[in-house]
């Protein structure tokens, strides 16, 4: 099937806005999934909030709802309740999710629907001309806060870990391959995956921009204690700390679709495609059962970590070939 994720809508983000790169990374990730016949284009559904980030809705040829401010997440969970076989991605902004939609954010971890939350964090309400959000740094001066923001920003990664998150990752909008890798892992995760994309805004709250030199890539982590330490490294406030990027925490727990018998029944039979996606060997190597007497021989095939890395590389190679010719 021909993959066409483009739409005819005019892209109205500012020139140079990192949203362009997030769009490119999203397209690449989804294209890879479709190319590898894991899902079809029709299997995907997206929801977006209101804000600069949300314009991505108009630029992606995927099913979805362009929701109200702060409501992309509950609407997305609703889609999963309606059809558990949809691959749902919710694109939200820091302003919408943490201010208007905070209750939904915390509860989403509890429900653990098998979907992905992509959070664009530029630490300001940019489409409404730069008011402070819950992750804006202390002292941020905007038209709405001429005296400077008095409050310390809170740490959504810590909040997510405290809310029983099963997948928390952070990536940078300036690093497309890392975004593709992280989004791929997030979509592959069985359960609710939260990906925070650190993003600059070129027009508002520019003093928080260019944190790239603070970022360091981390190995996929399954240890909660370590995850908490990693979350503490960046406080969204000062430029002194380090910013870990990568999968900060991942664990296995039953997803919404597996918990509810009504959804489980539908979840097994795929309604729309004959191709049942092969469950790729999971990112986390399954721990050896304690009770078995015989040691399990190690599998010949290496875990898919590398495979997934290839996703990015493959398409990159192709595109580079094209450009060469």
């Amino acid at each position: 099937m021909k993959i066409n994720l483009d739409t005819k809508s005019e892209i109205t983000w500012c020139p140079g806005c990192p949203n362009h790169m997030i769009l490119a990374a999203t397209k690449e990730t989804i294209t890879n999934f479709i190319k590898h016949k894991k899902y079809t284009q029709k299997d995907f559904a997206i929801t977006t909030d209101i804000g600069c980030h949300a314009k991505i809705f108009d630029y992606l040829n995927l099913s979805g709802i362009y929701c109200l401010h702060g409501r992309a997440l509950p609407t997305a969970i609703g889609m999963k309740l309606g059809n558990p076989n949809l691959k749902v991605l919710a694109f939200v902004g820091d302003g919408a999710m943490y201010s208007e939609g905070m209750a939904h954010f915390i509860h989403a971890f509890k429900y653990n629907a098998n979907m992905t939350l992509v959070l664009h964090d530029n630490q300001s309400f940019s489409l409404t001309t730069g008011q402070p959000t819950p992750t804006s740094q202390q002292g941020y001066i905007s038209k709405a806060s001429p005296l400077g923001t008095f409050d310390r920003p809170f740490n959504p990664i810590k909040l997510a870990l405290a809310s029983n998150a099963t997948f928390v990752a952070r990536t940078s909008a300036k690093d497309t391959p890392h975004m593709v890798e992280t989004l791929t892992k997030a979509i592959n995760h069985n359960g609710f995956s939260f990906v925070e994309i650190i993003q600059d805004c070129l027009v508002f709250n520019i003093e928080t921009n260019s944190k790239d030199n603070l970022m360091h890539k981390i190995q996929d982590n399954e240890d909660l204690k370590k995850a908490e330490r990693l979350a503490d490294e960046f406080d969204y406030n000062s430029k002194s700390g380090k910013i870990p990027i990568g999968v900060i925490y991942q664990s296995e727990e039953k997803s919404l679709e597996e918990k509810w018998p009504q959804l489980k029944k539908q979840y097994k039979k795929r309604i729309n495609t004959t191709r049942r996606p092969k469950i790729q060997s999971k990112l986390i190597p399954i721990k050896k059962p304690i009770l078995t007497k015989k040691p399990i021989p190690p599998k010949k095939s290496t875990p898919t970590k590398q495979k997934e890395h290839k996703y990015g590389k493959k398409s990159k190679e192709k595109s580079s070939k094209k450009s060469n010719t």
């Binding site: 739409t7 005819k8 809508s9 284009q41 029709k42 299997d43 559904a45 929801t47 209101i50 314009k55 809705f57 108009d58 040829n61 995927l62 099913s63 979805g64 709802i65 362009y66 929701c67 109200l68 409501r71 509950p74 609407t75 997305a76 969970i77 609703g78 889609m79 999963k80 309740l81 309606g82 059809n83 076989n85 949809l86 209750a103 939904h104 915390i106 509860h107 509810w260 018998p261 009504q262 959804l263 309604i271 729309n272």
Partner: protein, 507 residues
């Protein structure tokens, strides 16, 4: 023949058990009952009471005055002494103190004897309700022996079934093969949620409790988009929170059905009592202009029919359907022999994600479903939404019952009312020269209403709110102002005897 029994006590003493057991006995005996529940927002203590009305004909309301008072505690005697008629009978719970938990069974025994019903009727009811009935049977016999028969009720051939409004909403939804109900608890809408949750697996249904009403409505919209038959339910305060989603429904045209069970407001108001004060928000909640359907059933039979119709219309016209009820309808127990009309069955035939690429938006959209700010498209989309309202009106007029006329059809005295007040009006005009126009569809509004009002000499509006919301709606749609208004807004529904007196004074 009509008898009223007030059963009073503290919360937790089991007054509902008495009325439940005894109304089942009465139904088996062929009598119609109506059970009004008056309770405070607490779990133990305080003072609660039920008024159980009994009749040999169909009734849907209760009187203020009682023939029998069953008092579980002293407070009940004090509170209801005034309401007891001159030759009324007082039954106290004190005399059965030593029976412990079975005190309510003994009281049901006493009532059975007083109304001249054989003990065996009560015994078979107890056997069907209790796993170990021995003690309860003894208690029933003790209660039965303590009193003498004063009203002889011969056995009748009717076989009424008892149903509360909330149960009826659930039945209507299940009849339409509802797949998903998402809600956040709020009295008096919660009982519908409980009813649906009870047998959810058997009914191929899922009942999901969201973190708040905003989420409940958003989830419902998302699920409906995904191709599921879905419904959400709440009361006034929660409905306010849903307002933005109702507006999103208007522009995205994703089918959505909302059950609104109202109670007296503003604010938290009197949460466990009744009022018809939310017609305005049902008609108008949400910004912008978009079509919707608002249906107000008057009894459980209608609630079954209208819930199915609401779900059907929402899907057919990709619109918002609101089923408007209130505490009086949702929690009172009606007995009836009327079977609901066959409801329209439907399948979801629109494009759904997974099978197609479907885009819905909170913005005005172009033909691809992407945002647009074009003035021509904005105007065209608005025109299309307006046109839908006319389509809905035409379809409903041709296919569903929008109003009902009760009472003496040729009378020149016209009572106008809606929703749960209908029961009291029907019973109150039973012996009067009056006819009753019951408005069921509040949006679209029937054009027949104007003709009926013009043909009458004397029009009286009866509602349980302070501004006469239906009256204002009729004035807006027809230009006719109804000057005679009987409005009650103390959180209690109209009593039959009270309303009968009030109407009599006006005709």
């Amino acid at each position: 023949m009509k008898l009223n029994i007030i059963i009073g006590g503290a919360a937790g003493q089991g007054i509902n058990k008495v009325s439940q057991i005894f109304s089942n006995v009465l139904s088996e005996h062929g009598y119609f009952t109506f059970n009004y529940r008056d309770y405070a927002s607490l779990i133990r203590g305080g003072h609660n009471f039920n008024t159980l009305a009994v009749s040999n004909i169909l009734i849907e309301s209760h009187d203020a005055h009682a023939d029998i008072l069953v008092a579980m505690d002293k407070r009940s005697i004090k509170t209801h002494k005034q309401a007891l008629k001159k030759n009324g009978i007082l039954i106290t719970g004190d005399q059965f103190k030593d029976l412990g938990r079975n005190i309510n069974v003994a009281l049901a025994g006493a009532l059975t004897k007083i109304l001249g019903i054989p003990l065996s009727a009560l015994e078979s009811e107890i056997k069907s309700q209790f796993k170990k009935p021995t003690e309860a049977l003894e208690a029933a016999e003790k209660g039965y022996k303590t009193y003498r028969t004063s009203h002889e009720l011969p056995k009748l051939k009717n076989h009424p079934t008892i149903l509360a409004g909330s149960q009826a909403i659930a039945i209507g939804a299940i009849n339409s093969r509802l797949q998903l109900y998402i809600a956040y608890p709020m009295t008096p809408a919660t009982n519908a949620m409980h009813e649906l949750a009870k047998d959810q697996l058997k009914n191929n249904l899922m009942v999901f409790q969201a973190e708040n009403e905003i989420s409940a409505a958003s989830m419902a919209l998302g699920a409906s988009f995904a191709g599921t038959k879905v419904m959400t339910g709440t009361s006034g305060g929660g409905f306010d929170l849903m307002g933005e989603t109702l507006s999103l429904q208007g522009i995205s045209e994703i089918p959505l059905t909302v059950y609104l069970a109202s109670r007296p407001g503003p604010g938290t108001g009197v949460p466990t009592y009744t009022a018809q004060s939310d017609l305005d928000i049902a008609l108008r909640a949400g910004h912008g202009e978009a079509p919707r359907v608002v249906i107000a059933p008057g009894n459980p039979t209608e609630a079954i029919e209208k819930t199915s119709e609401a779900l059907f219309l929402a899907e057919k016209f990709k619109t918002l359907s609101i089923i408007l009820s209130d505490k009086h309808l949702a929690e009172s127990e009606f007995s009836s022999i009327n079977k609901p009309n066959k409801t329209p069955d439907f399948k979801i035939k629109r494009l759904i994600p997974g099978k197609n690429i479907v885009k819905k938006s909170s913005y005005e959209t172009d033909k691809f479903g992407n945002s647009t700010e074009s003035y021509t498209l904005t105007e065209r989309n608005t025109d299309n939404r307006l046109k839908k309202y006319n389509d809905i009106q035409k379809y409903v007029r041709e296919n569903f019952e929008m109003i009902k006329i009760h009472g003496k059809k040729k009378s020149r005295n016209l009572i106008v009312g809606w929703g749960s007040t209908s029961g009291a009006i029907k019973d109150a005009i039973h012996n009067l020269d009056a006819k009753f126009l019951q408005v069921i569809y509040c949006k679209p509004l029937s054009q027949q209403i104007k003709k009926e009002i013009q043909n009458a000499d004397n029009v009286i509006l009866v509602e349980c709110n302070v501004t006469g919301q239906l009256g204002r709606l009729i004035r807006e749609q027809t230009g006719i102002e109804i000057r005679n208004r009987l409005l009650k807004y103390n959180g209690r529904p109209f009593h039959t005897d009270e309303l009968n007196r009030l109407i009599k004074s006006l005709i």
